[in-house]
Structure formats: structure tokens, C-alpha cells
């Protein structure tokens, strides 16, 4: 963006970056909203809708001298093009002159709008888009007011065509701009939408199985400039002007997507504020303006009737309802009785404030062990040292840059990273995908690497020389290292190997360089900065304390072996959204608020600390967990309880070095972002894009600060070896699953696969198993699940890939040796 060119828009000269799009530049510099329907700044222009017609010309220069030719008044002479040009397909160049306010342009706009409306139904009163509809807005701004067309002649088409389970198409409303088709093709790479027929019969279709088979389908409803695409979730939920947009953060994965929760009071929710829909919120560093369908449709758990609503304490061996006062007194007594043998385990979606107050409580009691759940992904400390540099933007990666993705299936784990890295590959970045099996990311990779399960660290250290050379010589290098098919030790080894690679090649301490890891949950990095670690969890497992506080971690649902050591714990204090197997064992089960009901912060995988705000009315008597811990601390005489999440954050900024300067005010800062979508404009659709809640602040890594980081030793652990007739059972992530925080989203249920295990064709042939057969998978000689077999080439020989959280029974968190039998 260094070269500048001079262009003239409506007689005023602007200096704009060379090579950029005219519509974007007119909007950004001249505040001139050239109306568009088909153009979208995130996609290639196609010039289909003709709405952006402008008068264009160029300043005449003398061919010989190269000097600007002046007219008799001494102004530069302009050679106007004979016809109007589509502004969206123009790249700015020096001497470009456009006019957007002449009679010809106005007439062209009027005619285009009039023509678009010839077959558009006047559904506005009941259309979900009515009120935030670009077609409505542009008709008001540029339309002719009356039409010469005969309205009895309108095409009547199907109003309710389900494109899959989540998105509905209204064929009449579609103006055939192809934004949805181009989004699926260019940005996502799942080209499951297309036009069918031609002329007036042109329609959008999907022929995939299941229909509209992608994890990003909801975004098409945002960019649709009319109400043709609507979501099953929000259909007729509310009128847009009735909604209040509350900034929030996606609680499901490490991307920390910025979202807006559109809330409105609702009779079905007792007249309290309720989330009606989830919309993306622009943050060009994190999720741009896209969110995954899990983020968009996974909010129902916050008001599930199954939520724990009242504090429960054990009286005479039975959990009974109690008041908070009773519960606090009961827990305080239990804490005192534990005599310092106190430990805590926090789930990976626990906000920073809760983690800090929990840590203070435990440390105040003389306890020490703070466990992170699930203990599958190690190396958060390495990310803190050599993670991606401050100012990283995956959207900047392109030609000359490189990305290595190893031991993770990003499509299922962090879909937004997968979306953005796919685009990086499209822009020319060198993308290497290393995994033991084929994942979706392979489709976009420049090179793929295969290794045996359990050998990820070894593969990282012994990359093919040509690939390693390209990675090392890239301008920028990001390594995304997961923990698929690894034990905790294996994960540490891989992270260390990846960190070593980065340190040796000097790709640290700079933006767009460094290490990333798809930690489960929304606050995997926050756990590390607040002192929680998976290693501590293993210690807790080995030496169970007298009293264990479990916050938002469903130990028994995640780990079938947890019961063994949990039984040795005398007292369990459980804080959770839902009553689960742990709270049934607990001496006290306390209801806590979800992300939607309270203020707080999450630290995403890129170490960006981001604020979410209170949006929805609370469920029952649930309290934010920080408040519970704070009150317990006060009752134990550890000082006054904090009164707000902001006060807790202030305390964190004073005590945790990484969080210095991260007061709520700082986290709420926003700046104008390019491209300018949302806000006051008339045509990028949706009012929820605008970011009013803050861009967050990224924590500096040690390398960013210039501290010395050195190569560490990689301890290659022994990986379980299957004997003859056995297979390695590898747990993998599945985006749409039956976890307690996703199960209440009933509308997504048809898209949650039936429990299955993916088996290699050779193993399947040996065991005489075909796709669709029911098989029993026995793991570690004791855990059995009955699932469907898939033999679709998704598993390497000797391994069975078992997606997590699809079965009702818990399955092991890390890879185990197992046997498969046909039922």
C-alpha cells in the first residue's frame, strides 16, 4: 500500500493507494457510497448488478511530453468514456476521474432499481431482512418511487426452499447477485451453491448431501443483499430495529470470533432479554466478518431448561436446593476442613476473571495445583514465548509467506482459522498440511506430509528437506500445531519441536510469524496466563487432593477414566452451567452464568484478550463464577469481594504481567477498519458488523519483547503400540457434536453425525467390516462404544478415527490401543 495515485471523485482530488478498488476507495476516502448489490469488498468484483454505474474518464496527457493538457480555463482536460462504467470493476489509476452525481448516473441507478423490482415481491413487512435490507435502503435512496412495470406480471416462485437444514431460500426475493455462490467458492472453498437454469428462471440451488454442506452457511445470509437467504434460527424471530446488539465473543473455539448477540425481550423467556440471533462483528485481526455455523447457531445452551439454576448442597448424602448464603457457608466450612489440601480444575472456556479469582482462592488456602481441562494440549507456555507476534493478521499472509499445519484438523477444531488460512493459500502462501490422515485442509495445501499416528514431533523434526527449506526461507512463517493423535507428552514434544523450528529459522518475535495451537475451548491461552496447566491436572489425577474445585469442566463426560481418581477426592465443589456427572458426585453444585449473561474476557489462541458483555437475562439464581470465588474468599477472610468483573480485571492487570495495561477500557477500544462494512452504509447488509465493543489487545510474546528464547530439548515419548489384531483408536474433534454446550441447539441436530468410527479399508477388509456396519470399539480393555463403521479413506492403516462427543458414553481423550468387533 505504499504507492499512491491521484484520482478525482466529483471534482475533488484524493490520494489513494494504487491497485485498490474504486468503490472501496470512494467509500473510504471520499465518504461516497457508490451503491452496489453484487460487489462485496471481501470478494472479487463481477459487475453483474450494474448498480454501481458511474461516469468515468481520465485526464488527457500529451503523448510526447507527458504533460497534462489544459482546457481554456486552465483546468486539466478530461477524456470521458462514452458510456457509464461499473465502478466495482475499476482499479484506481493515476488521472482517473469519476462523477457520481450527474443526471446520467442518477438515471442509470433509477433504472437498475426499477428493473430489479420488476420481480421482487413486496414482502418487506414480514421479511427478516426488512429494516436492514440493502435493496430496501438503495431503493429509498436511489429508486424511482414509481414503476412503469405491470406488477400483475411478477413471477411467483417458491417462498420456502430449504437449502439444507439451517438456511432457507426465498426464490422470489433473490436478485441473482451471486454473493452467496461466490462466498462459498472464493472464501470457503465449499462450492456447494450454484445457479441453475438461466434468464428469468435463474435460481440458486445446492446439490450436495446434506444440502448446503458447509460449516459457514450462515454467512451467506449476512451478505445476501435481500431477504432471499434466511436462517432457520432467526426466521421471524424479531424485526431488526427491535434488536439491541451486544458485543460478545464466541465461547466455542480458540479463534475467539467477535460476535454481536442480537437481543430482545421475549415472552417465552419470562419477558427477559434473550438472544435472538448471533451475528459476526468486524474484527479484521480475528474473524474479519465471518463466523462458523457453530458460533452462529450454538447459543441455545445459554438458556437451556436443563441449566443448573439453584445452588445445591449435600445434606444427608443427598443434593438439595439451598440459598446462596447457605451454600457459601457450606463451601467455606468444607474449604476450611480440607486443611490446605485444595486443588482446582478449570475448563477451557472459563473466562479470565473466573480463573484469577479461583487461583486467588486456592492459593489463599495454601493449595497450589491449578489444573487445566482438558489435559490434551500442552505447550501454552511455548506459545507465550514464541507465539505469533503481536499485530499478527492471518489475513495479511500471502505470496512469499508459509504456513505449516500439523496434527490438527482445523476445519473441525477452529473453522475460522481454516477459512482464513485457505484464503492465505489462495493469495499465494505456501501451505503445508501434515497429519496422519487426510483432512479437509489437504484440499488447499501446496504440500502434504503424512506420518504415523503418535509420530508428529518426529515428523516435525524430520521434515522433507525441500519442504523445510521453503518454510525456513519464507518471509513469514506460522506453524499451527495441534494435538491430534498425541498424548500430553507427545503434544509437548511436538510443540517444542515446532518452537525449535521457528527459533532456528528466526521466524519469531515478528507479526505473522510464530506458533499457534488450536487449544480446545475459548480460553486455552487464558488458562496458561492465569497459572493453570494440563501438567498440574495430571498431578491432581495422580495425587487427588482432599478437596477439588471443578469449574466448568465436565470431567466425567470428557474422560471415562476420571471416575477412578475422582472417587479418591473427599469433597468436590462443582461449578457448572449444567448438572453433570461431576456435580452429582459433588458436595456442592453451584450454578454459574454463561458468557451471555455476564461480563468477562477470553484470551484467544492468538493471545488476544477480548471482552464480552452482558447480553441475556440470567438463568435462575446462577452467578458469575468470579463472584462465587470472590465471596468465598471474603468469607474466608482473604479480603473484600470484588463487585464487578471490571474490578477483577483491574486486579489482574496489577498482578499478572502479561495483562498489564489491559483494563476494560483498553480492551473496548475500536478503530476504523478496512474494508468499511456495516455502520451507516446502505449496502453491506446487516447492522451487526460494526464493532463497537472493542478489538481487544494482543499479549506480547517473550520474543516480541526481545527476551532471549532458546531451543528446548524435544523428549520423544513412547507412543502406544497396537499388537496384532488391535488398532490405535484416535480421538478427533468434530465441530457439530453432542457436547453439553452444543446439544441444546436443536436445529443443528440433523447435521450432527451419528456416532461413527473411521476405519482404513485394509483393516476393514481384514475384519470383514463395511461402511454402515455397527461395530463395537473397545478401548484400553475397558471402554466400549457401539458405533457405525465408515470405510471412506479417512483413516491410515492400523488406526481407527473416533470423533469425540458423538456417543453418549465418554471416550478416551487421547489415543489408546483398542479392538474393533462387528456387532
Amino acid at each position: 500500500m505504499s504507492d499512491k495515485v491521484k484520482i478525482i471523485i466529483d471534482d475533488i482530488e484524493y490520494e489513494v493507494p494504487a491497485g485498490s478498488n474504486l468503490v472501496d476507495m470512494a467509500k473510504w476516502y471520499a465518504d461516497n457510497d457508490i451503491p452496489v448489490f453484487c460487489y462485496h469488498p471481501k470478494m472479487e468484483p463481477v459487475g453483474m448488478c450494474r448498480m454501481c454505474l458511474v461516469e468515468q474518464g481520465s485526464i488527457v496527457k500529451d503523448r510526447e511530453t507527458g504533460e497534462v493538457v489544459l482546457d481554456e480555463n486552465g483546468n486539466p482536460q478530461v477524456r470521458w468514456f462514452p458510456k457509464l462504467q461499473t465502478a466495482c470493476t475499476q482499479i484506481v489509476h493515476d488521472g482517473m476521474v469519476i462523477r457520481t452525481n450527474t443526471e446520467a448516473v442518477k438515471a442509470a441507478r433509477e433504472n437498475v432499481v426499477e428493473f430489479l423490482l420488476t420481480s421482487h415481491p413486496l414482502d418487506c413487512p414480514i421479511c427478516d431482512k426488512g429494516g436492514e435490507c440493502p435493496l430496501q435502503n438503495l431503493t429509498m435512496a436511489h429508486g424511482p418511487g414509481t414503476s412503469r412495470m405491470n406488477y400483475d406480471d411478477k413471477m411467483h416462485l417458491d417462498k420456502h426452499v430449504p437449502l439444507g437444514d439451517l438456511i432457507f431460500l426465498d426464490e422470489e426475493r433473490c436478485i441473482q447477485c451471486a454473493r452467496c455462490i461466490r462466498f462459498q467458492d472464493e472464501i470457503v472453498g465449499d462450492d456447494v451453491l450454484a445457479f441453475h437454469e438461466r434468464g428469468r428462471k435463474l435460481q440458486i440451488i445446492t446439490n450436495s448431501d446434506p444440502g448446503f454442506d458447509t460449516y459457514f452457511s450462515g454467512n451467506t445470509t449476512d451478505i445476501c443483499p435481500v431477504g432471499a437467504l434466511t436462517t432457520a434460527d432467526f426466521r421471524f424471530g424479531a424485526r431488526p430495529w427491535e434488536l439491541t446488539e451486544v458485543p460478545s465473543i464466541c465461547p466455542h473455539d480458540a479463534a475467539g470470533s467477535n460476535i454481536s448477540l442480537s437481543v430482545r425481550l421475549d415472552r417465552d423467556f419470562g419477558g427477559r432479554a434473550m438472544i435472538k440471533r448471533v451475528m459476526p462483528r468486524q474484527n479484521e485481526y480475528v474473524n474479519e466478518i465471518w463466523i462458523s455455523d457453530k458460533t452462529r447457531f450454538g447459543h441455545h445452551f445459554t438458556r437451556s431448561e436443563d441449566r443448573l439454576k439453584k445452588p445445591m448442597i449435600k445434606k444427608g448424602g443427598v443434593l438439595t436446593e439451598a440459598t446462596w448464603d447457605e451454600a457459601i457457608r457450606f463451601v467455606v466450612d468444607a474449604l476450611k476442613a480440607a486443611d490446605g489440601s485444595v486443588a482446582a480444575i478449570a475448563g477451557s472456556s472459563t473466562p479470565n476473571e473466573d480463573l484469577w479469582t479461583l487461583r486467588k482462592l486456592v492459593e489463599g488456602l495454601g493449595g497450589g495445583l491449578l489444573g487445566a481441562w482438558t489435559p490434551t494440549h500442552a505447550g501454552a507456555d511455548l506459545v507465550a514465548q514464541v507465539g505469533v507476534g503481536k499485530g499478527t493478521n492471518l489475513g495479511d499472509l500471502g505470496q512469499g509467506d508459509a504456513v505449516l499445519i500439523i496434527a490438527t484438523d482445523l476445519e473441525e477444531e477452529v473453522p475460522i482459522w481454516r477459512l482464513r488460512l485457505k484464503q492465505a493459500a489462495d493469495r499465494g502462501a505456501y501451505l503445508v498440511v501434515a497429519n496422519a490422515r487426510k483432512t479437509r485442509m489437504d484440499d488447499f495445501a501446496s504440500d502434504t506430509v503424512r506420518y504415523d499416528y503418535g509420530q508428529a514431533a518426529h515428523a516435525m523434526q524430520n521434515l522433507d528437506a525441500a519442504i523445510a527449506k521453503k518454510l525456513k526461507e519464507a518471509n513469514n512463517l506460522i506453524i499451527v500445531a495441534g494435538a491430534e493423535g498425541l498424548t500430553l507428552d507427545g503434544s509437548r514434544a511436538l510443540m517444542q519441536a515446532a518452537a525449535n523450528f521457528l527459533i532456528e529459522s528466526g521466524h519469531i518475535g515478528k507479526p505473522n510469524n510464530g506458533l499457534l495451537s488450536p487449544f480446545p475451548g475459548a480460553n486455552g491461552m487464558g488458562l496458561h496466563y492465569m497459572g493453570f496447566s494440563p501438567e498440574a491436572t495430571l498431578q491432581i489425577m495422580q495425587n487427588p487432593p482432599k478437596l477439588l474445585i471443578v469449574n466448568q469442566a465436565e470431567l466425567l463426560a470428557d474422560d471415562p477414566f476420571a471416575a477412578e481418581w475422582l472417587n479418591k477426592v473427599e469433597t468436590i465443589i462443582s461449578l457448572n452451567l449444567f448438572p453433570d456427572a461431576v456435580s452429582n458426585m459433588a458436595a456442592a453444585a453451584l450454578p454459574i452464568q454463561s458468557f451471555a449473561e455476564r461480563d468477562g474476557t477470553f484470551t484467544n489462541g492468538e493471545r488476544r484478550v477480548q471482552r464480552f458483555y452482558m447480553a441475556q437475562g440470567p438463568m435462575g439464581e446462577a452467578l458469575p463464577a468470579w463472584q462465587v470465588f470472590s465471596q468465598l474468599s471474603e468469607a474466608l477472610g482473604q479480603g473484600h469481594a470484588k463487585l464487578s468483573a471490571a474490578a477483577v480485571m483491574k486486579e489482574i492487570t496489577e498482578n499478572v504481567e502479561a495483562f498489564a495495561g489491559m483494563r476494560y477500557k483498553e480492551l473496548a477500544r475500536v478503530e476504523r477498519q478496512f474494508p468499511d462494512v456495516g455502520g451507516e452504509d446502505l449496502y453491506y447488509g446487516g447492522t451487526a458488523y460494526q464493532n463497537k465493543g472493542g478489538l481487544g489487545v494482543q499479549i506480547e510474546t517473550s520474543a516480541d519483547k526481545g527476551e532471549a528464547v532458546s531451543v528446548g530439548e524435544v523428549k520423544l515419548p513412547d507412543s502406544p503400540k497396537p499388537k496384532k489384531g488391535q488398532v490405535l483408536v484416535v480421538p478427533v474433534a468434530q465441530l457439530f457434536n453432542r457436547q453439553s454446550t452444543f446439544k441444546p441447539s436443536v436445529l443443528v441436530h440433523p447435521r450432527v453425525p451419528q456416532p461413527y468410527v473411521e476405519i482404513n479399508s485394509k483393516d476393514a477388509a481384514r475384519m470383514n467390516i463395511k461402511t454402515g456396519d455397527l461395530v463395537e470399539v473397545m478401548m484400553a480393555d475397558q471402554i466400549r462404544v457401539t458405533v457405525q463403521a465408515h470405510v471412506n479413506g479417512g483413516a491410515p492403516e492400523g488406526a481407527a478415527v473416533l470423533p469425540r462427543y458423538l456417543t453418549d458414553e465418554a471416550t478416551p481423550m487421547v489415543l489408546t490401543v483398542g479392538e474393533i468387533k462387528k456387532v
Binding site: D190, D191, V192, L193, A194, F195, H196, E197, R198, I205, T206, N207, S208, D209
Partner: protein
């Protein structure tokens, strides 16, 4: 799922695929093969072509929908396109078309009950000097009148029967 096309027409498919640097470029000739095999572009045919061209079935379906010479609905064994554009109409194509429909007892664009004939009217087929004319399964038949037409129809009907018997 077994790919019938790939097994049955391996050589022809390979011939088309080898002509292009990119597999998806061969989608149109392969669609013709599918149409030949199934009589129309059935969902099965679309799936198989998509697999052969390494494309999403949606995109293949979209191509099939764009071009008029792909049949997206099951049609008769003989697909008659009668030109009724101006030059043909001047030479009596409209009456001829009406007579033909009446003779077969079907509506415009309809298929006979036995599934032998589908008759549609089309725009110019570039044989104006030989009007009235029609195209049957992409072969031209020119200078027509109803007597000639009846002969042709009888002939095609016999062919269809012979084909059906052979099939059994």
C-alpha cells in the same frame, strides 16, 4: 457407490479427460455420455460425472441447467425439436407443429404415454431453406409434411420396439 459411467465408458471418458489440462474442463462431453447412458441427466448421472471431473455435484447440476441440450427431466426416446421461428412459420411450420401434436395427442413440450416421443418447439435451427423441419435426437429431418412425418414416426416407433425387445 459404483461409478457405472467410469466402468462402461472408460475409454471415451479417458479420451475426453486427456484433452484438457484440467479435469473439470471435460464436464460437458461427459454429461453427454451420462445423458446417453441414462436417457437424461439423472441425479445418479450428475453424481458420477461430478466424481469423474472432481467437482461438486452442485456445479455439474448448474451446467446441466444452463444448456438446453441437456435433459434434466426424463424425456421420450425420441426427442423432437420442431423449429417454429419466422422463416419456418412462413412455410407452414406452425400448422405442421399443431398437426404433429394433435397426431401424437400431446401438448407442447409433452411426452407420449408410451414414452417414445417428446415434442418441443424451438428457435431457429439454421435450416430455414428446408422448412418445415425438425431435429430428432440432434439429427435433422427436412422438407416435412404430415405424410412424411407419419412415416418417420412409424419407423421410429418400430426402432423403439426393437430396442425395447432387445433390451429384454
Amino acid at each position: 457407490m459404483a461409478n457405472t459411467l467410469a466402468e462402461k465408458y472408460a475409454e471415451r471418458i479417458q479420451h475426453h479427460l486427456s484433452k484438457y489440462p484440467d479435469k473439470r474442463s471435460a464436464v460437458m462431453p461427459l454429461l453427454y455420455i451420462a445423458q446417453e447412458e441414462y436417457g437424461w441427466l439423472s441425479p445418479q448421472g450428475i453424481e458420477e460425472v461430478a466424481e469423474l471431473c472432481d467437482m461438486d455435484p452442485t456445479q455439474v447440476k448448474s451446467i446441466a441447467g444452463f444448456y438446453t441440450m441437456y435433459r434434466e427431466q426424463p424425456k421420450g426416446k425420441f426427442w423432437l425439436h420442431v423449429c417454429t421461428d419466422l422463416p419456418c412459420a412462413l412455410k407452414g411450420a406452425e400448422t405442421f407443429y399443431a398437426d404433429l401434436l394433435a397426431h401424437l395427442g400431446i401438448e407442447d413440450g409433452g411426452t407420449t404415454e408410451d414414452g417414445t416421443f417428446t415434442v418441443e418447439h424451438v428457435m431457429c435451427l439454421a435450416a430455414c431453406d428446408r422448412a418445415p423441419m425438425l431435429q430428432c435426437n440432434f439429427h435433422f429431418h427436412e422438407h416435412l409434411d404430415m405424410d412424411k412425418m407419419r412415416e418417420l414416426l412409424d419407423q421410429w416407433r418400430k426402432e423403439a420396439e426393437a430396442y425395447a425387445n432387445k433390451d429384454v
